[in-house]
Symmetry: D2
Subunit: 400 residues, 4 copies
């Protein structure tokens, strides 16, 4: 049985994560690589009727014009992707670039706005006007490729934190603020989410930005019967935390402090070098210990932009804990991972999973996808294994 | 309702683990310390009717005469136990020392035999004779303190590996070999197990030595309706492995190699400095990756005796794994834990849990205790969280 | 030949460094410890005529009243000093406490001022009045113990950075500002330096605070023929940097970035948790790479206060460098040291060395002591080994 | 002034180090890379009249036939050399391959002999016969390229340790053993050294194998006026040790134990996986602490072959030391370096330096090159900086 044709529309289409996803999808399709790191290639998903790789079509928005091939070149130069794979998939990347449209800037902060290419963003009198243009882009994409549905996936740089306490809680009132740039306090990530949800298309937020994570958009999603989920892909240090913190809890060891220091040098890092953007990110990485342990050890998460590291993220974690009779002990971790190569397969996984959920008629927040996120919407457990159990149950239920 | 009075008989009674358990039990009873690191103090065990700390009585065997207080002193000197706690519990340690009897030497290897004090071991014409003396010691202990039951717990130094392929598989034939020192290929750890099981007392093996982990003793345990479990307490590096390896599996990341280098300087380390003893230990630490991952990455576990570290074990792990598109990445861990302080609370937990299982009429291998062991008998999963799920289910079932 | 009797006057007398120095001096004198970590106990100083340990007398200023024994107790509790040594030297600590006088607060910043005990600081109409009281305290101490000289050593918490560009460059003009609290922009560390230098006593600044490191005080020192030196004792991470950076230079390896993350939890850390105090510290740790390498790699030094660590400082350094053909490589360091135990022996060394320099008639900045400091005054090389060569030459010259 | 044309004859010509040297020399000559990691490109050598890169001609011996380009390809695949550099220098590598001749196998051990290609080694009735063929190869090379001199450099895999106590101490008697394979206990590395020294050409041993490091060959070198030096290039972990151990000594900190664990996966590692080869290597890495510190802390150096790491060597060092008042502290290092890229530039440096020494009429062991070696011949200091001082003095003296 052929799988339904599915679009994956990447917001931040020319960034490292989206480009790696594009190279990777092409390499998988061409049989140039094994499906390592793709969760949905594990046996438990075999009978779930997920979109086949040949039936996934990519497009997206960006605010920069430099082609994805340039990003891919830079990733190869920093050993994040094998150069041979980049060379072999250049035609696919070019085709992908042809599907990229100018994106939305709205309260995106001066650092992100500084990255935008002159004239390469949606000009409109109001946020509502921007949303309508995004919707036109999505409908055109869907029609052009005869797609059953289009998953909208946010993989753009982290925005400054949105002042959620000032956003209207009901969709009707929220909607009214969109008529005017000055009355709309939501940022671009949320405008994209509105566009997707109003079209009843799946929306997935792989970043710490707000996206659909507020009452008004939850209401909108429910009303339209759309699925959505976020926030902030769990790729490295936080993944380890959500696996190791439960170990301390299960052994009744007392975590006294947990310090995490992250250094990396890609564009994401450059954006986080701006304190207003960083604040949003740090918050997303730092809340789960209390949830898992049931008490609040001293925690500290720092993120620093170190140019020379390029796409390689190094995280050093120092866990100070107390054992029997109060004896203090230490666990240190050093994680050296390539950010894009960690994120990209999850993006492809989420596209397949969200599309299948939509096909099955689910709606609202997809809490069974919690294991993919640092701050999963819908408030499920912070314990990675318990989150993964939800995914396993879903897979069992979705099997044909 | 008062809990039943339970004995905990420690083989290796004057070693670091047993001594820390003795200090710890006394400190908990006297209210000098919080119950950190005691798994059985977690809320889920509250209604399970476990032996209360005041109802647990300690005794044991050893082959050395230096009092436990000396061991405690050395542990305090290396900052493994707070000196104030040692000082405050000296009377308890003295009483405990009065309950220690000369132990069994039988094919224990020259390194362990070299540690024994002249004349401080059970002299007998045959292994059967040694077993009968152990049984007398256990019965005396039980009678002296009016104990419902006595959990026999092996925390002695690691023996050389037993040639299991040469042991009779049926208990009747095995039993026959015990009449003669030369025909009995089992080592001391197994003789202790026989003594316990013949008395239908619980036997727990916290070491990599063979103990009860062979077909003949499984038959004996079933026949007598006794509970038993082992091997090798999971306290540090292997605990981390059994938590982290499933993470790699769940994310479909390919582990290429996993190197673990352990250094420490206590008596356990000194014994492992002998290659014949070390072989048994390394095997116990190194099998679980294949079980969890479903393929066999290159693994290497080394253990080295570094005097200056005393009871502090430092483990460095280097995990080399492949992510999306084959990109190689690295996770390094450094674990600095105090061996005795990690092991001792689990020993106290296991005593309570095994006693309660016996009281409930369970028999055979206690596979729900798998999360406590590096090489759990009865062959359950190697995934720590799945092992822990078994414990949670048991706790739910055992609640009164 | 008996050595001259020398005073060591510690500013910050009841802090961790001073207290460890006091315990240590007493322990060395009583023969309770080996002279580990005392540089001046190396053979090359044997014939230099340094003050013998029995001839060194301690006193000092502080702004807190809690006795040094309390600090010592806390250090023992965090395993920074062996408890037995603290117990054995309590009488010496009590005697020392009797020699501590209320200290100076002047533009010390709100965090330090918040630590001061009510009424336990020198009240005076002007900085000049405070200086004169310090001088009286020093003269009384010298007379009371019949001391040849008194080395004044700053080991207090780090002040906010002094706006040196606003300080008069000539001593005469600087002196004039001292008549009035509002006209004097110098902070307490500099007032102490003035007191010492006006008495022609040696002044050593073991902290990042300004102390005597400005043109006007250099002029004062020269005029009075006094010796002085600073700043910021080189005890851990920076020591490693000043040893390793020259290695990269000598091998023509290109350092691309050097990230240092420091965590610790003592009072020094608490003071540095205030951004104004931290800025002064970070600057002191971060300038030497450019000096040694001849180019400026990206550097980042962060310092964070983590309560649970107490006096134990953990520093993680990540050095990213380029080798032949541009291949990027990495060196990571983790340093786990006890801050007070690293600093205290150098404080005792510096007291002996400065006293001997004064006795020999040297004056001005003691650049041959550069190896002891992160930011050595007088601008000598930043390469530790070259700095140490200066010390070796001095020792050869000072031999009797 | 044109520099004299110099040959560099690499024993192990198709291995990782030699191949990287060949790629690197070509890349430097073609202006494709900066001279990072080449010590002789530091300013202090500017006036020393070293051979210019265009005047250095490469050739060598090997026992394997696979072309150097294959090795280069593998190094690029493991990110040890940039693929673009390999592609750009393929013509140079081909030319280099044309200068490689079959090498010597003699008591090389079964692991090395197992790597040899059938028929691709010098067949001769005696070691003397093998030596004469090597000499013919060297003379042909010299004549073919009109070279002033040919530096013979050993970069082959580590041989089993030679039983030096059985070798004749006088050259005349040693020479006599060469007539017969069975009487000659020296191994191939020493036969190469004899060939070079008999031709009065410089011989440099970059490996732990014996080479010229025995009394008889010292006598031969002196007699012929030849220069020679070795053993075992100091590229990574030992470099760090020779820099850091003096720091502990200078600060009078007591090193209690120093553990080094090395993992890597190139052919060198494969050879060292054989215990007889490993023993020679470990000895070379492990002697210097005692020399630097003046006492012998417990040390442990382990080296393990981990396939997945390829040419990347990861070394973890754990230094346990005692500070003031006996407080134990820890320094840990993780070094992640590319073995070939660390060694190759030193090989090129040594070729230039040895050639210039020969030109200046020096003879015997070149102790001023000690900083390049783990076990420098001629017994100079083990302190890296003091070794480097010797090199600086030589450079000053050699300036024109």
């Amino acid at each position: 049985m052929p799988s339904p044709k599915t679009g994956l529309w990447l917001i931040g289409a020319r960034g490292g994560v989206a480009t790696t996803a594009a190279v990777g999808l092409a390499a998988v399709r061409r049989g140039l690589t094994r499906p390592t790191a793709l969760v949905t290639e594990l046996p438990m998903f075999a009978g779930c009727g997920l979109t086949g790789w040949p039936d996934l079509v990519l497009g997206g928005h960006d605010i920069r014009q430099a082609p994805a091939a340039e990003t891919a070149e830079a990733l190869a130069a920093s050993n994040a992707i094998d150069r041979d794979l980049v060379d072999a998939t250049l035609p696919d990347l070019d085709r992908y670039d042809g599907e990229v449209r100018p994106g939305v800037l709205h309260r995106s902060g001066s650092t992100i706005e500084g990255l935008a290419d002159e004239g390469f963003s949606i000009a409109a009198d109001s946020p509502r006007g921007q949303i309508e243009q995004v919707k036109r882009d999505l409908r055109d994409f869907q029609a052009r490729h005869k797609l059953e549905r289009v998953v909208v996936m946010l993989v753009a740089s982290t925005e400054p934190a949105t002042p959620t306490e000032l956003l209207p809680e009901r969709w009707r009132e929220f909607d009214a603020t969109l008529e005017n740039h000055s009355t709309c306090l939501a940022r671009a990530s949320t405008l994209y989410a509105i566009a997707a949800l109003e079209l009843a298309q799946p929306f997935i937020n792989f970043t710490p930005s707000l996206g659909s994570d507020c009452p008004a958009l939850r209401e909108l999603a429910t009303e339209r019967g759309a699925v959505h989920m976020g926030r902030d892909g769990k790729t490295g240090e936080t993944l380890l935390k959500s696996v190791l913190a439960p170990m301390f809890a299960r052994r009744n060891l007392e975590v006294m402090s947990w310090v995490g220091h992250n250094i990396f040098g890609n564009m994401d890092g450059q954006v986080l070098d701006d304190p207003v953007n960083k604040a949003a990110k740090v918050r997303s990485k730092d809340h789960l210990l209390g949830e898992i342990l049931g008490y609040d050890p001293q925690t500290l998460v720092s993120i620093e932009y170190i140019r020379s590291l390029g796409d390689w993220k190094t995280a050093w974690d120092h866990v100070h804990f107390r054992g029997f009779l109060g004896t203090p002990m230490t666990l240190q971790l050093t994680w050296q991972g390539c950010d894009s190569a960690l994120a990209a397969p999850l993006v492809l996984d989420l596209a397949r999973l969200a599309a299948r959920s939509a096909e099955r008629g689910e709606s609202g927040e997809l809490t069974h996808l919690a294991s993919f996120f640092k701050s999963p919407q819908g408030g499920p457990t912070a314990d990675f294994v318990k989150q993964y159990d939800l995914l396993e149950s879903w897979a069992a239920g979705a099997s044909l």
